[in-house]
């Protein structure tokens, strides 16, 4: 984005460096002085929070890998070794396991924010798509990570999910063989999952850099959804947003630390403290909470292949969102009818999550079908049609005038 601010090297050394590796220029223009809309609310702090989540997972993960043994004979005991014998091993492992949950919590808020304020709309389509790729990679990484402790839910979760992959036409069989490395979930599976679980976060890191790069071309969207018109609409990223983001991150850490220190196993499943046993199937096989909505969609369909396609479709549809939503107005604030459908969609996702943990019978099955239909209807019917017929609320003329105009809207 065009900025009035240009970096000027102050002394000989920085001038010398600037003409060879403009690192200081880059930091100054893209971090410190980066012009950011001044009206961002706290939902915009989750980008920073998510970056911190990724860094936390990578650092704790590297340390865990120093003590973990990726073998079916040793994995479970090596995790207990970390919990009992490694200095502060329990802390590192609880940060990592709860960190995955916090990462997903933050990414859900981040995505719902993007959805409400139209952050995927022209010219930010690529930012959104890169975000979807990150989300997909996160799901794969989390799934593989959950297999590593080699508990009952690790083993049976992996068995169920890899079976599902096998139902896919054409690629199913060879993909299953590549994931398993044998005929069933066993040592080769665990080994490759460990290897990939270590690799994928760095790929996520790379895509995050692209995500931020793409963000820095048009700059941030904002609650009113209007483009920045000039200097009066922005503040420098530092200190304004560094401080605000860090405050939000501290509050986020309070919730994170509550789980780590006072309820570290609340988000996990008891069965994962039983060592994997191929001869004993748990009564209910359920994934981690952050995958439950997709699990509910999968089980809402009587046909296995159709269920799998719908489950993948639930993520695939996100990639097309920029073109499915036909409304030119970005922010949900000025879309009175969209707001209702949006709130309903958030509730729908929460109910799907709840249903994912229930046995799909009777009322639960019926509800999961209704909520699955609404999930897809929101993207495939509501957004394309609503954008054409909805009567928008009057909008402010610019970011700096938005306060005044919002009062006007409220008074109506």
């Amino acid at each position: 984005m065009d900025t009035d601010y240009k970096y000027e090297p102050k002394n000989g050394l920085t001038r010398w460096l600037d003409s060879r590796l403009p690192l200081m220029r880059f930091t100054s223009e893209h971090v410190l002085q980066f012009p950011t809309p001044k009206n961002l609310n706290y939902f915009w702090t989750f980008g920073f929070i998510l970056t911190m989540c990724l860094v936390t997972q990578i650092i704790t993960g590297i340390i865990l890998a120093m003590h973990y043994a990726p073998s079916t004979l040793l994995a479970f005991d090596s995790v207990e070794h970390i919990m009992r014998n490694v200095n502060y091993g329990w802390l590192i492992r609880y940060i990592h396991s709860n960190g995955a949950s916090m990462f997903f919590l933050a990414v859900f808020i981040h995505m719902f924010r993007g959805l409400y304020y139209g952050s995927y709309k022209e010219p930010r389509e690529v930012i959104w798509i890169l975000g979807c790729i990150i989300y997909l990679l996160m799901i794969v990484t989390a799934f593989m990570g959950y297999v590593l402790p080699w508990g009952q839910m690790s083993f049976w979760g992996a068995t169920v999910i890899i079976n599902l992959v096998g139902t896919l036409p054409l690629i199913g069989e060879s993909l299953t063989q590549m994931l398993l490395g044998g005929f069933a979930v066993d040592n080769p599976t665990l080994n490759r999952f460990f290897s990939l679980h270590y690799l994928l976060p760095f790929i996520i890191f790379g895509v995050v850099l692209l995500h931020i790069w793409a963000l820095h071309v048009p700059g941030n969207n904002n609650p009113v959804g209007l483009s920045v018109q000039g200097k009066q609409d922005t503040v420098a990223f530092h200190p304004y947003y560094t401080v605000k983001d860090f405050f939000a991150y501290t509050v986020f850490l309070l919730l994170f630390c509550y789980f780590i220190f006072y309820n570290p196993n609340a988000l996990g499943h008891a069965d994962n403290y039983i060592e994997a046993d191929a001869m004993v199937t748990p009564a209910h096989i359920v994934p981690e909470w952050y995958l439950l909505p997709f699990y509910a969609i999968l089980r809402a369909v009587p046909d296995k292949l159709a269920g799998v396609l719908l489950m993948f479709g639930a993520i695939a549809v996100l990639f097309f969102l920029p073109w499915l939503d036909t409304a030119k107005v970005r922010s949900g604030r000025y879309r009175p009818v969209f707001r209702y459908f949006y709130v309903l969609f958030v509730i729908d996702c929460l109910i799907l999550g709840y249903l994912g943990a229930q046995v799909p019978e009777g009322i639960y099955l019926f509800l999961s079908r209704v909520t699955t239909i609404y999930y897809f209807a929101f993207f495939l019917l509501v957004l394309p049609i609503l954008g054409r017929i909805e009567k928008m609320k009057p909008m402010p003329i610019g970011i700096s005038n938005s306060e005044l105009s919002r009062d006007m809207v409220a008074a109506e």
């Binding site: 001044k38 609310n41 706290y42 939902f43 005991d77 207990e80 919990m83 009992r84 329990w90 802390l91 609880y94 949950s101 919590l105 859900f108 808020i109 503040v235 200190p239 304004y240 401080v243 605000k244 860090f246 405050f247 939000a248 501290t250 509050v251 850490l253 309070l254 919730l255 630390c257 509550y258 780590i260 220190f261 006072y262 570290p264 196993n265 609340a266 988000l267 499943h269 008891a270 069965d271 403290y273 039983i274 009564a283 209910h284 359920v286 909470w289 439950l292 929460l350 999550g353 709840y354 994912g356 943990a357 229930q358 306060e403």
Partner: protein
């Protein structure tokens, strides 16, 4: 400020949602409410009762250990901080009651020696098959992590231990090799009633009722599943206190900084 409240309420909604979805799995198949006696280690500041852990170890050693292993525990754990906190000499004495096969001598014969602090608790059976053969085909689970490995946690273990000797309700069939226990999923458990009044004679003179022994051994198992708990809560208090103060400072900094931006 309003925006802040919005975020907080959102976080609250999400966390309530986690807990709900989590409770949902715990509910699987249980029809009886768990007995919750209220243990000393509950709550954000709860700690283990040393005397109770020691009584619990005695119950494990004299009753449970004949069938159940605790392979994650070493004798040195008995003297570490945050546990039963026996003296090192006492822990050594406990260890020396058991032997272990440790390598070979110069003639290729296996060497048996008494256990030392660094050795794990002994396994009552040589193999899983042997364990099954002695128990009507059921495998007595390892108890190291049992309170974390069952939904309902320590309250489930406590309830289960007291669930014997009850009248079998009509309509429930329990096979001859199983015992009726209302808290066990499916109600038929392969473990026979393990505790009877005065199954052990407590060293500290406490009367060994079934309730007392159940509570004591449950506390011991809760410790063995989470030996880091006391340290975790202690550290948690420091971290949370710091974060609350730091969050306040960051809040004031943010408000001050943004005061002049309109």
């Amino acid at each position: 400020m309003l925006k802040l409240i919005k975020i907080k309420s959102l976080i609250l909604i999400f966390s309530v949602f986690f807990v709900l979805s989590n409770e949902a799995y715990c509910a699987g198949g249980e029809t009886y409410d768990l007995i919750k006696p209220g243990f000393s280690f509950e709550g954000p500041t709860g700690t283990y009762d040393r005397a109770q852990l020691r009584r619990g170890y005695q119950v494990y050693r004299e009753v449970c250990a004949s069938c159940h292993s605790m392979k994650q525990l070493a004798f040195r754990n008995l003297s570490q901080k945050g546990g039963p906190e026996y003296t090192e000499d006492d822990a050594k004495l406990f260890a020396s009651e058991y032997t272990v096969i440790d390598g070979f001598d110069d003639y290729g014969d296996s060497v048996e020696r008494t256990r030392i602090l660094s050795d794990r608790f002994p396994n009552p059976y040589d193999s899983k098959e042997a364990a099954k053969a002695s128990n009507n085909g059921a495998y007595p689970p390892d108890l190291s992590l049992i309170t974390k490995a069952r939904s309902g946690g320590y309250n489930y273990i406590y309830s289960l231990l007291q669930g014997y000797g009850k009248e079998i309700p009509e309509g429930i069939e329990i096979s001859d090799t199983l015992s009726y226990n209302p808290w066990f999923p499916g109600n038929g458990i392969a473990m026979y009633q393990p505790l009877y009044e005065e199954s052990v004679e407590y060293e500290d003179g406490t009367f060994a009722s079934i309730e007392q022994m159940s509570a004591d051994v449950t506390a011991f198992l809760a410790w063995s599943a989470e030996p880091e708990m006391e340290e975790r809560k202690r550290l948690g208090f420091i971290v949370m206190s710091f974060l609350i103060i730091f969050a306040l400072l960051m809040f004031f900094t943010t408000t001050r900084l943004w005061k002049d931006v309109h």
